[in-house]
Symmetry: C2
Subunit: 290 residues, 2 copies
């Protein structure tokens, strides 16, 4: 029996703060850890803005429930205090292998033996980290998407060492915080979502970069053919150009050509997608609201 | 000034009959050509069924308008008569290069010099055919999707020889028959739609065939992440397994592995997608209605 009640989120950046807030909003006692008082001050701002966003965008959220969410979060820059009585530690620190290994080595000592560790890493496999956790059987990946309250997938991916009971408990937790758990049966770089998105977006960029078709035509084709509300170029704008550019830059020769084209025609001109006001499309006003 | 009034569709198979019927339903005088009286009898059945389908599925269609559509179609197995006064000849004969070249050689002689020729080929480029038409400047590709009344893209793709006025006229015609014209600026195998669909569906099959995730999880991920009404495995079922299987069989080594997996686990068991009652999903009753 694995019971998850106290949740600690390591890292209070864009996604870390969302994971912490979503968990607290759904009733969990949450500890939000980051490295410095400055980082915690930024985290406080993020939680305040998330409360405003939830009030606007989450059905049923009101000023009382979003404030209760904030009240269930304890902020700390003391790692030992952060994990000392955690049932689940979700790690959302920067995507740097050595940094993650270092923090797992530390919390492996500091957290109770019963604590489950979950990495939110997008680009590393849990196998890259498990031997540093001191508890490979209680370790797996739990991968969220930006804007967790709207794009509420939670991809759950263990290693060969992960205890099935731990896996099930984390799937249950994902459900409890309003996520749609996506169960992977074995490790896959990119999980499900990026395994689909990367070739799809590459194909769209290939059509536009090659001069075959305009972004509008590419998107229209997809929308008519599949009934989707938006097409790949619009998705690209919403994601923002930076992450796909970085992925393409590390791809094969053709992907690298596409990355160079993106850099020259968009990134170097400050066109980074919706958040910057222009990408494949122009956005006269920022409609993201956050 | 290019005026399109009389339309001839060569080939009255699944898609040829849909193109002919859609054009007639939208008010064009249409000649539907196929090679034999038997083929024409089958075409008549197709038109009758299309009239029923349109009554059910096309907003605004009623028994009067769908019958008027049928009345505007002339069937013939006489190729000379079929094209003698055509403004636009849409070729939808089987995807066999020599067969298409042979028919273009014939109609190049039989049709008026002013006639525009358009190929609906999915897999051949118009460049593969243009030198057999006797009119490369009045030749291009006009590519429809199955169920033209619902998936109403019409991809328009010329060669370097295609007269821009001819291209524009065909775009206008596509609009006139209720299609969404998708303009390609130069030749691309797979046009826009299959250039997006093929890598997308391959990625989905890769996830399922590799045992990483179930079809339901793959689709759910896509739907939550992009707001799409269906995911890739469901799209696969709707398209049917045969065409993607054929494309994968001619792909790279990895695509061929996926094709072999599809054959062993689905095709050899008669699971060919929605039309067969089972694919990645099961369909206890045929919901396609046609």
């Amino acid at each position: 029996m694995v019971d998850i009640r106290k949740v600690t989120v390591l890292g209070a950046g864009v996604l870390g703060s969302q994971i912490a807030y979503q968990s607290a909003f759904k009733g969990f006692e949450v500890t939000s850890y980051d490295v410095s008082e400055d980082a915690l001050a930024a985290a406080r701002d993020r939680f305040t803005k998330l409360a405003e966003t939830y009030t606007r965008e989450v059905p049923g959220a009101d000023s009382s429930s979003v404030t209760a969410g904030i009240d269930r979060i304890t902020l700390t820059s003391d790692l030992a205090a952060a994990v000392t009585d955690a049932d689940l530690v979700i790690e959302a620190v920067p995507e740097i292998l050595d940094l993650k290994r270092e923090i797992y080595t530390k919390i492996g000592e500091l957290a109770p033996e019963s604590a489950i560790f979950a990495t939110n890493s997008s680009t590393l496999l849990p196998s890259d980290l498990k031997d540093f956790t001191g508890r490979p059987e209680r370790f797996l990946a739990l991968h969220f998407a930006n804007k967790v309250w709207q794009f509420n997938t939670a991809e759950v991916m263990g290693t060969a060492d992960t205890d099935p009971a731990v896996y099930s408990a984390v799937v249950g937790f994902a459900n409890d915080i309003g996520m749609v758990p996506i169960e992977l049966h074995k490790e896959k770089a990119g999980y499900v979502l990026n395994s689909l998105l990367v070739p799809f977006l590459n194909a769209a960029v290939d059509l536009v970069a090659g001069g075959y078709a305009d972004p509008e035509a590419v998107d229209r084709t997809w929308m008519v053919a599949t009934g989707a509300p938006i097409g790949p170029c619009r998705i690209f704008d919403i994601i923002g150009f930076t992450t796909p550019y970085n992925i393409m830059s590390h791809g094969d020769a053709h992907a690298q050509e596409l990355a160079a084209w993106l850099k020259e025609n968009y990134i170097d001109k400050g066109k980074l997608g919706l958040a910057s006001g222009e990408g494949f499309y122009r956005y006269p006003e920022d409609p993201s609201g956050d």
